[in-house]
C-alpha cells in the first residue's frame, strides 16, 4: 500500500469516528487526539479499526506511535 493509500484509509477510518473533523486541514505532525477531539474510547476504536482493516496486531505499547497522521503512516508501512 502506498503512503497516499494508507493516508486515505486512515482518514476514512477517522471520519467514521469524528464525522465533523476537517480532514483536508489535517497536519501530519499534529496529535490526532487534540485536533479531532478524540477521547480514550475514540482512539481505541481507531486502533481497533486499523487492526481490523490491515490485520496488523498492534501492541498497546505502540499506540503512541499512532497519535499523528505521519506516525501512523510510518508505522503501518513497516
Amino acid at each position: 500500500m502506498s503512503d497516499t493509500e494508507t493516508k486515505s484509509m486512515i482518514v476514512e477510518l477517522l471520519s467514521a469516528i469524528a464525522p465533523e473533523g476537517d480532514f483536508a486541514a489535517l497536519v501530519g505532525t499534529e496529535d490526532l487526539r487534540e485536533t479531532l477531539d478524540l477521547d480514550s474510547m475514540d482512539f481505541m476504536n481507531f486502533v481497533v479499526a486499523l487492526h481490523e482493516r490491515t490485520g496488523i496486531d498492534i501492541p498497546e505499547a505502540d499506540y503512541p506511535k499512532l497519535r499523528t497522521l505521519d506516525g501512523a503512516i510510518a508505522y503501518l508501512a513497516r
Binding site: 477521547d39 480514550s40 474510547m41 481505541m44 481497533v48 496486531d57 505499547a61
Partner: protein, 387 residues
C-alpha cells in the same frame, strides 16, 4: 409516556413498533420517542396483547400520559378510549380478542436499528415492510438500502424530518433543567482523594498484552468496577432521594457519563455493574457510547441509574467536582490519570495518579460515609486482579 430522567416533561412519539393485536412481553421495544436527549427506544414492563395505540405518531404528550393500552392475558382487550383530545382516528385494525400476532415474519419484534430508521426516512421507505437481516432479525441500514435499490418505495413515511442523533440546543435545555434542580434542591458536599494507579495500570498493561486488539480494556473500566464494588460496601450512596426520604437502589446501576460530540452529556445505566466482569463492562461501555452518539438508547437505560460515575479520560482536567443527577444521591468523578510525584516508602517517585472525587447529598449521608467510599475505591484499585 415514561419519564426518561428527572428533567423530562414531554416526549414526541415518532414511531410505533407494535400494533393492536400484537403480543408484547417485558423488555420489548414498543415505540421510539424523540426527547431532548435524542431518539429513545421505549421498552414495556408488562405482558399482554396490545389493544389500542392511544397516541398517534407525531404527537407530543406530557410525561405520564397514557400512550397505549395492553390487555392482560386471558381478559378481553380494554375498550378504546375516546377521551384523548388530540388523537385523530387511528386506522387500527378491528380489535381482536386473541393474542395471535398478525405481523409478517419480518415484522416480528418490530426491530430496526436507529441508523436504519433514519436512512429509511431519508429514502422514503417504510421500514415496517422490510425483512430484517441484522441482529435478532432487526432491519439494518443495508436492508433499507437494498430495498431502496431494488424496488420503488413502499410508502412515504409520515414522520417529521428526523434529526441525526440529537439536537444540542434541546439537550442543553435538559442539562440546564436537571442541574438547576440539583443545585437548588440538593445540599451537596464534596470530598476528593488521590489514588496511586501504579498497580492497576501494570495489571492492565499485562492483561492487554495477552489480548487481541478488540478485546483490550481501558483504565476507565477498572475505575467503574472499583466504584461499583465500593458502593456495595457503602450502600448509603447508592439509590434515590424522594418524598419518603432515601430509598436504597435495587442494585448498583451505574449511570456512565458520556460526552457527546458537538456538546452535551448523557449518562445511560450500566445495570448491576458490581456483578459484571471487566471484559463484559468494557463491551457494555463501548456499546453505550456508540448508541448514545447514534441516538439508540433505551428507556430503561435512561431512568434506572442509582448513581453516576464520570471519568474525564486521558486528556481531561486533573479533578472533577460533579453535580448530582436527581433523584440520585451521589456522583463519583475521576480526573485524568497523570504521572505526578508521590511518596512511596520514604522516597518521592513519579507514579500514575488519579484524583477521585465524590459529590454527595447531605440530606442522606455525611462526609464520614463519603470518605469510606473513597477509601474503599483506593483499596480496591490496589488489587486489580480481584476486580
Amino acid at each position: 409516556m415514561p419519564a426518561l430522567g428527572a428533567d423530562m416533561e414531554a416526549g414526541t412519539l415518532v414511531e410505533w413498533l407494535i400494533k393492536p393485536g400484537d403480543w408484547v412481553k417485558r423488555g420489548d421495544v414498543v415505540a421510539v420517542v424523540e426527547t431532548q436527549k435524542g431518539a429513545i427506544e421505549i421498552e414495556i414492563f408488562s405482558e399482554g396483547v396490545v389493544s389500542e395505540l392511544v397516541v398517534p405518531v407525531g404527537a407530543k404528550v406530557p410525561v405520564g400520559s397514557l400512550i397505549a393500552r395492553i390487555g392482560v392475558p386471558g381478559e378481553a382487550p380494554t375498550p378504546p378510549v375516546t377521551a384523548f383530545p388530540a388523537a385523530p382516528p387511528t386506522p387500527a385494525p378491528p380489535p381482536t380478542t386473541t393474542p395471535v400476532a398478525t405481523a409478517l415474519p419480518a415484522l416480528r419484534g418490530g426491530k430496526i436499528t436507529p441508523a436504519a430508521r433514519r436512512r429509511a426516512a431519508e429514502l422514503g421507505i417504510d421500514p415496517a415492510g422490510l425483512l430484517g437481516t441484522g441482529v435478532e432479525g432487526a432491519v439494518s441500514v443495508a436492508d433499507v438500502e437494498a430495498a431502496a435499490a431494488h424496488s420503488a418505495p413502499v410508502s412515504l413515511v409520515a414522520l417529521p424530518p428526523r434529526r441525526a442523533g440529537f439536537d444540542s440546543a434541546e439537550m442543553r435545555k435538559a442539562i440546564a433543567a436537571a442541574m438547576g434542580r440539583s443545585k437548588r434542591e440538593i445540599p451537596h458536599y464534596y470530598l476528593s482523594h488521590t489514588v496511586d494507579l501504579g498497580a492497576a495500570l501494570a495489571w492492565l498493561a499485562a492483561f492487554n498484552d495477552s489480548q487481541p486488539v478488540p478485546n483490550r480494556l481501558l483504565p476507565a473500566v477498572l475505575l467503574l468496577k472499583a466504584s461499583a464494588l465500593a458502593l456495595r460496601e457503602v450502600p448509603q450512596l447508592n439509590g434515590a432521594y424522594g418524598d419518603g426520604g432515601f430509598k436504597p437502589g435495587p442494585g448498583i446501576h451505574v449511570g456512565w457519563a458520556i460526552s457527546l460530540r458537538g456538546g452535551g452529556l448523557i449518562a445511560p445505566a450500566i445495570r448491576d455493574a458490581d456483578t459484571r466482569s471487566l471484559p463484559e463492562l468494557m463491551s457494555v461501555m463501548r456499546d453505550l457510547v456508540q448508541r448514545a452518539r447514534a441516538g439508540g438508547l433505551r428507556s430503561s437505560e435512561l431512568a434506572s441509574s442509582t448513581v453516576t460515575v464520570t471519568s474525564l479520560g486521558d486528556r481531561g482536567a486533573e479533578t472533577v467536582m460533579g453535580i448530582i443527577y436527581p433523584p440520585q444521591v451521589a456522583l463519583i468523578g475521576y480526573g485524568s490519570i497523570g504521572s505526578r510525584p508521590w511518596v512511596v516508602g520514604k522516597r518521592v517517585k513519579p507514579r500514575p495518579l488519579v484524583t477521585v472525587s465524590l459529590a454527595a447529598d447531605h440530606r442522606v449521608s455525611d462526609g464520614h460515609i463519603g470518605a469510606l467510599l473513597l477509601i474503599a475505591i483506593e483499596r480496591l484499585l490496589q488489587e486489580p486482579e480481584k476486580l
